[in-house]
């Protein structure tokens, strides 16, 4: 037997496929991974500390920067938490628009996630170009509604900042016509390409029990076979009025994660269809009249107490834990970031696989470093 020596490699902080500033300390024996340790914190921006010196509404734009792919979903989380704490009612129309935006965000995020994973496997940017094409269309819609493509800052406590512009619905209907083809194309790509199957099947398996014990959430957890979704477990907004299913996998490998993502895009599509149907008949304005001006938003002083508000973002359960001392600023503010918690079992998933699998597994978890480091 040849005597071999283990080699320690730093993948990152500057590396083409770490999806941000992130370091993986990988110990390899030849090409096989012996150990792997994720190191993060390069993007730490004092998000939680900032909250304690800001008013509640000042935090809204900061949540955009958590997971910059899904700013709408993050806004939703903070709005839910603070409304729960202060007991603010949300009009029906605002609720439906919120759900519409959250589900469009999910489609956008999963389209990009699938594309980036195939890119990490070495397909030279072609799938990325096709995934980004759909994402652009949704970003156009967001720009129309909120004025910004990525940092939307669209939600307010008690509703949303402004109603949908008149041009919004025709454009959305055009998009709805194009999307099913995109889902089918992506699924066919993943199901029929031999190399993709070779690279993804049986790689990076996360068993059900391990996933649950790491408190992983989102598509990663559902791919492992646990039917857990905050939209079903603790329905918020109008999700209990809408009809949708939760896709689950069985093995928990990369292949399952991406089948789950594609199926989730289809379910989101269903939800958006229902919202489009019901939106003309909704009652109430886009915001609760009691909170309708920015002055009222700034003057918000929730009663003493604490609250945990959570939503299902595309990446998993995003939770905001807020303690109020009755002043205009939160006493304590804590974010439960799905990217961060989903990233922790990466060592377990990678051990025993090859170097080339690390980046694909990382891509399949679908992290955004802005949310991991906060």
């Amino acid at each position: 037997m040849l005597k071999t020596q283990e080699l320690q490699i730093n993948i990152g902080p500057q590396h083409p496929s770490t999806h941000g500033v992130f370091r993986l300390v990988v110990t390899v024996d030849g090409e096989t991974i012996v150990d792997l340790k994720p190191v993060f914190g390069y993007l730490h921006r004092n998000h939680e500390q900032l909250a304690e010196v800001s008013t509640y509404i000042q935090m809204m734009p900061f949540t955009d920067r958590l997971d910059y792919f899904n700013s709408m979903a993050n806004n939703f989380g903070l709005a839910i938490a603070v409304e729960k704490l202060a007991g603010i009612e949300v009009p029906q129309r605002a609720n439906y628009i919120r759900v519409l935006m959250a589900e469009l965000t999910r489609i956008l995020n999963h389209a990009a996630a699938v594309a980036f994973m195939i890119n990490d496997m070495g397909a030279w940017q072609t799938p990325l170009a096709f995934g980004m094409r759909e994402r652009e269309k949704i970003l156009d819609l967001f720009e129309m509604a909120s004025g910004a493509r990525m940092m939307c800052n669209y939600f307010r406590f008690g509703g949303i900042v402004r109603d949908l512009p008149p041009d919004f619905m025709p454009l959305l209907n055009d998009l709805m016509k194009a999307l099913p083809t995109f889902f089918d194309e992506t699924e066919r790509l993943l199901r029929e390409n031999e190399i993709l199957l070779l690279r993804s099947e049986g790689v990076g398996i996360l068993p059900k029990e391990v996933a649950a014990s790491y408190s992983v959430t989102g598509p990663v957890l559902r791919a492992s076979g646990v039917p857990y979704d905050v939209r079903k477990a603790e329905p918020y907004s109008v999700y209990n009025e809408l009809d949708f299913d939760v896709p689950i996998g069985s093995v928990g490998d990369i292949y399952d994660r991406f089948l789950v993502r594609i199926e989730e895009m289809r379910q989101s599509y269903r939800i958006v269809q229902q919202v489009i149907e019901r939106l003309p008949d909704t009652t109430g304005g886009h915001i609760n009249p009691a909170m309708a001006s920015i002055g009222k938003q700034k003057a918000l002083k929730p009663p003493v107490g604490d609250v945990y508000g959570r939503v299902e973002t595309p990446k998993g359960e995003l939770g905001f834990y807020i303690v109020s001392d009755g002043s205009a600023r939160p006493y304590r503010y804590k974010v439960r970031a799905p990217s961060f918690i989903n990233l922790t079992p990466i060592g377990d998933m990678c051990r025993g696989h090859k170097v080339a699998d690390v980046v694909v597994i990382l891509g399949s978890i679908d992290i955004v470093l802005g949310e991991v480091d906060r």
Binding site: G122, W124, E201, K354, A356
Partner: protein, 439 residues
């Protein structure tokens, strides 16, 4: 031409020297220009696949983009890492690229346009193309960078593994044709598909007797083209420089002109091997009309033949770009398994087919009784019924080798098939994947 030069310059060694200088100069000009065109072509085609425009600012349709890139490369800072082995780091790109340019010396660019006509040019191509692996290892080792080292190890393992099926595929063609001279290959591939030159007297030379139309040539071409992809580090085998895994492999620490030289070596290697594949399997410069053109007006025919061969090589390069735009890459172990479990056995069976074909073609032609190697079964020559007609023999050989090669191909596919739907994980997935309707 030679006589004319001798009249002017006198001693023949001077004439040879001048002739070599001219052809060397032409090669050293043509190859970098080819490289520049290849980079432009690749970027435009991939851009087209990805819904983009690609380079279109410098010159007409961006054709001069490569010149701009060259200027950029020349003016870039040439960085050598402090801990690197300075000399090894410096020489590596030259060692990797030099042999590739040697290759062009023995390749016949067209009718009567081979710079050096040697009898063993196939052997030369095989031997010289392997030298660049040393350059890659030098680059990876000399950079003193872990990514570079990993990339170099991958590159060398990959090149060594894929050399074997490639050589065996070429060997079956050498057996098939009985020559190692690349010029001879083109001559042998005139005439009709499958039948080749055997009916030359009856039907005019169509220039379509390409070996790729025979079962042996088809399997050989398939194996050789896959090996080109792998040795030239093209997708889906671009593992040594997998940018999403190990940054840029052995080229990680290279910048400026040293990087450009590495890059040029790689692209020219692809082009040289595409040319070799076109010559050996795709009929070289043979194409309907070209043989006639050569016999009417040799200079124009030579030019046209060079264009035809170039078009074939560029087509193969286009296929490489197409694959690059469409496929993800394999993993190292899957790559090795593919070489050793699929390509190598198939190449060996192809050699068997070639030997069989040769036996059928040559068995007992001419004076049979004098041949001590011809054996008889019960006093009857088992292949005696074939007579002396090469057409009949060729057809029998075609059918037999087609059956053997197709059988081997599908058998190997079946043996190496992923156990789909059989592993417990697959069964579980088939049953359990779906949607859970939660309350």
């Amino acid at each position: 031409m030679l006589q004319f030069l001798e009249n002017i310059f006198g001693p023949s060694w001077i004439v040879s020297l001048i002739a070599f200088l001219i052809s060397t100069t032409v090669i050293l000009i043509v190859t970098p220009v080819t490289f520049m065109m290849m980079t432009w072509f690749e970027r435009r085609i991939v851009a087209r696949m990805q819904d983009r425009l690609g380079p279109n600012r410098v010159g007409p349709a961006g054709l001069l983009q490569a010149v701009a890139d060259g200027v950029k490369m020349f003016t870039k800072e040439n960085i050598t890492p402090r801990a690197a082995d300075k000399w090894v780091h410096l020489i590596a790109p030259l060692v990797a690229t030099g042999p590739v340019i040697f290759l062009f010396a023995v390749i016949p660019w067209g009718y009567g346009l081979s710079p050096v006509d040697i009898n063993v040019s196939v052997l030369f191509v095989i031997a010289v193309s392997s030298i660049s692996a040393v350059g890659l290892m030098m680059g990876g080792w000399g950079s003193n960078n872990k990514f570079a080292l990993l990339g170099a190890m991958r590159a060398v393992a990959q090149m060594v593994s894929y050399e074997i099926p490639a050589v065996i595929a070429l060997l079956s063609m050498v057996l098939f044709t009985g020559t190692m001279n690349l010029n001879k290959y083109t001559e042998l591939q005139g005439g009709l598909p499958i039948l080749g030159n055997t009916l030359k007297d009856v039907i005019p030379d169509l220039g379509l007797g390409w070996f790729v139309f025979t079962p042996i040539g088809l399997v050989g071409f398939m194996i050789f083209f896959i090996c080109i992809l792998s040795e030239g580090e093209r997708t889906p085998f671009d593992i040594p420089e997998a940018d999403s895994e190990i940054v840029a492999g052995y080229m990680t620490e290279y910048s400026g002109m040293k990087f450009a030289v590495f890059y040029m070596g790689q692209f020219l290697f692809n082009y040289a091997l595409s040319m070799v594949a076109s010559i050996i399997f795709l009929g070289g410069w043979n194409f309907p009309g070209i043989p006639q053109l050569i016999s009417i007006a040799p200079p124009i025919g030579a030019l046209a033949s060079a264009v035809v061969l170039g078009a074939k090589a560029w087509f193969l390069f286009f296929v490489m770009i197409w694959l690059r735009g469409a496929f993800p890459r394999l993993r190292m172990d899957q790559l090795m398994a593919f070489a050793w479990k699929f390509l190598l056995p198939l190449a060996l069976i192809n050699i068997l087919s070639a030997a069989l074909w040769l036996t059928i073609m040559l068995w007992c032609t001419g004076d049979c009784t004098q041949n001590p190697w011809v054996f008889t079964v019960g006093g009857i020559n088992p292949l005696g019924w074939l007579g002396n007609s090469p057409v009949l023999r060729q057809l029998v050989g075609f059918v037999l080798t087609a059956i053997i090669n197709a059988g081997a191909f599908f058998w190997l596919l079946n043996v190496n098939r992923r156990p789909a739907g059989e592993t417990p994980a697959d069964l579980a997935r088939d049953q359990a994947f779906g949607t859970a309707s939660l309350p």
